[in-house]
């Protein structure tokens, strides 16, 4: 776009602005009220690639996956009414996991807004609780500045989804237009910039004086690009680190100070460390109920430092002693020079002690006639040498992935943590594949989850994406079945689920399909898959009654976890032994 005033339609302005924001790919689905914008797309084909999803929810997850892996803003587009409401789950997913996406929806013409016109829905209002902000553009003169503002809001501060609803007549209208270059002024929006010296000193003093500190690394570590700063703090002061589900990858899993995941399905030693600590350093995390367990008994003897960019998250669930509302990386760059070198041998020895019988308790040691989900995940880790980009869905396989796939690099695991959106993985992987063009990508998904957004196999084929899909098929909605077994006396209400023949399904879409039901076949099948170009699908037939251990029952104390079973499964292939430690 030149700096000379030219006449543009609203639809053209949308594309011009997206290109200015550096957008290379848009995920969407056309329809009545967004037609002018899709028509204008023809002029911009050489600059923007459009991916046709099979459902608008898929388009939003694609934008989300793209955003999570690239750190850039993902863009989804759809029509009004059902197109827009279909995007709500995707926006809510991005909201809960702080993922920067911009959703653009068509709206009925401004003259008929409020008349219940065909495919009219108040998406600006409906999106309020599931977005960081939402806009309805009623004047073409404000279109460009609104798009610019939306991108700014989406990726600054605590990132999140932003919706822009644009009536059809605004897209058709035209004006003389220059791209706004003036400074963006949002009077009510101020991401924090700096942190006072006072807090830095308090922070470092607390760390230097602590005897049993633990770092809790959350998604903020990745979002703030503070991975090396967190490791520097940990290494300098020999502080063990445990991560949230979304914090996985922020610190290398193979590092001796990294304890693994905390919380409901976290490692027992990580949870014990939290409960016994005298200092928790919470880095960009929000003390979700899935990581704290019973709040009344949560880490009772520790002082708590919370570094968080969103002040409304501080003191929400867990009261802290030092609250720092700032960007994590900025804070740690100030703090780290003031940290004294310590080896903390005593504390680290105590933590190693909690590993005592964990090797024997490992699911991988269980003798089972049937393939176990945990084994599949571990083999995928081996077969990809730990270097793949993994997109996991929601359920047992998600927790097993978090436990058994070791991530060394940031942004190598994408998963729906906060909202727990089943069906997230396949579309998110398609989106991510547009950024990670050369990386090996594996979707790890259950038979329940895949069937929620399975139609996106069509998108994967149409775009010839380089994704591989591992379906962990146990014939159940496994995590719900696990809860039914443990807390509802094994009354399996509506958790057995049938599936299509996934190999034939893959073939119907024109992709390579494989089925594996023994541990020996995993790696050879993966080798075949790795030689394919384009998407492949592998169905793993696994044990139906596998349970994810360890587990802290909902609302129980964090240290009251049910450990992994002592050694073997019983004759029915069921793992039933429950015992509590401590």
């Amino acid at each position: 776009m030149s700096n000379k005033k030219q006449r543009f339609t609203g639809a053209e302005i949308i594309w011009e602005c997206l290109i200015r924001e550096g957008v290379e790919v848009v995920f969407g689905y056309p329809g009545g009220t967004i037609l002018p914008t899709y028509d204008a797309l023809n002029k911009y084909r050489n600059k923007v690639h459009h991916v046709l999803s099979r459902h608008e929810q898929g388009a939003t997850h694609m934008a989300d996956g793209y955003a999570r892996v690239s750190g850039k803003v993902g863009v989804a587009m759809g029509t009004s009414g059902p197109g827009a409401t279909n995007m709500i789950t995707g926006m809510a997913t991005a909201m809960m996991d702080s993922s920067p996406i911009v959703c653009i929806t068509g709206q009925v013409s401004s003259s008929v807004i409020g008349s219940d016109a065909f495919q009219e829905i108040d998406i600006t209002g409906a999106a309020i609780p599931v977005t960081k902000h939402s806009y309805l553009v009623m004047d073409i003169g404000e279109l460009a500045s609104t798009i610019r503002e939306a991108f700014y809001v989406a990726h600054t501060g605590r990132p999140g989804p932003v919706l822009i609803d644009i009536p059809k007549d605004i897209q058709n209208d035209s004006i003389e237009f220059i791209y706004p270059e003036d400074e963006l002024i949002l009077p009510g929006y101020h991401p924090p910039e700096d942190v006072s010296e006072d807090y830095i000193t308090k922070f470092s003093t607390m760390v230097n004086q602590a005897e049993k500190p633990v770092i809790l690394a959350g998604h903020g570590v990745l979002l703030s690009n503070a991975c090396s700063e967190v490791m520097e703090l940990a290494e300098k002061s020999s502080i063990p680190i445990t991560t949230t589900l979304l914090g996985i990858g922020g610190v290398p899993d193979s590092h001796p100070l990294v304890l693994g995941m905390m919380g409901m399905h976290g490692e027992s030693w990580a949870n014990h460390a939290i409960q016994e600590a005298d200092l928790l350093i919470a880095c960009g995390m929000r003390f979700d109920d899935r990581v704290t367990g019973n709040l009344k008994t949560y880490s009772p003897n520790s002082k708590k430092i919370h570094i968080e960019i969103d002040p409304s998250e501080i003191n929400k669930n867990v009261k802290v002693d030092l609250a720092i509302h700032a960007d994590l990386g900025t804070v740690l760059r100030h703090v780290n020079p003031q940290i004294i070198k310590l080896n903390r041998k005593k504390w680290l020895d105590i933590i190693s002690g909690w590993h005592h019988d964990s090797k024997r308790r490992d699911i991988l040691n269980i003798k089972s006639d049937k393939l176990l989900g945990a084994q599949v995940i571990r083999k995928i880790w081996e077969g990809t040498k730990g270097n793949a980009l993994i997109i996991s869905d929601v359920g047992q396989h998600q927790m097993l992935e978090a436990q058994y796939y070791k991530h060394e690099e940031p942004r190598t695991l994408l998963t729906s943590g906060g909202l727990g959106t089943m069906g997230f993985s396949l579309p998110a992987a398609i989106g991510a594949s547009f950024h990670e063009k050369d990386k090996e990508i594996w979707v790890i998904v259950g038979d329940g989850s895949i069937q929620m957004t399975m139609m996106e196999l069509g998108t994967a084929m149409q775009e010839n994406t380089n994704i591989n899909i591992a379906i962990i098929n146990n014939g159940y909605l496994g995590m719900v079945r696990q809860w039914q077994q443990m807390f509802y006396d094994s009354r399996y209400a509506e958790t057995p689920i049938s599936s299509p023949d996934f190999v034939k399904l893959a073939e119907a879409y024109g992709m390579n399909g494989y089925r594996v039901d023994s541990i020996e076949d995993i790696l050879p099948t993966m080798e075949k898959v790795q030689k394919n170009s384009g998407p492949s699908l592998v169905e793993f037939k696994v044990e139906e009654h596998e349970i994810v251990y360890p587990m802290v029952p909902a609302g129980a104390d964090l240290h009251e976890m049910i450990q992994r079973p002592w050694n073997e499964v019983n004759n029915n292939g069921q793992i039933q032994e429950k015992e509590k430690v401590k």
């Binding site: 309020i128 809001v153 009077p187 009510g188 101020h190 003191n315 929400k316 609250a323």
Partner: protein, 187 residues
């Protein structure tokens, strides 16, 4: 504890919706919300009264409000010297022989009778919430048929700074619009 929040918002469609949606969604108890124009064009001013016993929850309300993109500034004036007022209209069914009694009460409260029908009168009063509550209770023995109250509005005493000099990184100050620090809500 009652929490009074003066909130400056952009005068744009849907802002009230965003604020009420926030209170409902987060399960915060709202007592009253008054909105009107401020001294600056394009800026509306709200006085919100919430009632949450826990300090951390009051902090959560504060920071969630502040987080809304259309909210320019929020000041928690619960503990600051303020003039706070509420306006009320009370309609009473009354027989002529009770008129003097009511008139005396009304005078005592600095209120006034603004309308007198054959069997009804309307009392208007402006005062602090507690005084308004007292007025209602002393009028209770008469037949009150309608009450409308505006909810509380509040203004800090002293020379307040302009909102445009607002800076998130500067030190909080009672007379500025600078956001409170999280420690303000620490017990």
């Amino acid at each position: 504890m009652k929490q009074t929040l003066i909130t400056l918002v952009e005068d744009k469609p849907g802002v009230l919706n965003r604020i009420s949606s926030l209170f409902r969604r987060r399960n915060f108890n709202i007592e009253s919300l008054v909105v009107g124009h401020s001294e600056t064009s394009g800026v509306s001013r709200m006085t919100i009264v919430a009632n949450e016993p826990e300090a951390s929850k009051r902090g959560n309300i504060y920071f969630n409000l502040l987080k809304l993109v259309n909210v320019i500034a929020v000041k928690d004036v619960s503990k600051l010297p303020c003039i706070s007022r509420e306006f009320i209209l009370i309609k009473i069914n009354i027989s002529p022989d009770k008129l003097n009694e009511v008139n005396n009460i009304v005078k005592q409260y600095g209120a006034r009778i603004v309308d007198m029908g054959t069997e009804t009168l309307i009392v208007e009063a402006t005062d602090e919430e507690s005084v308004i509550n007292n007025l209602i209770s002393v009028l209770q023995p008469y037949e009150i048929t309608e009450i409308v109250r505006t909810g509380k509005i509040a203004m800090r005493k002293g020379k307040t700074h302009n909102v445009s000099s607002n800076n998130i990184n500067s030190k909080p100050d009672d007379l500025s619009w600078t956001p409170d620090h999280i420690t303000a809500y620490q017990i």
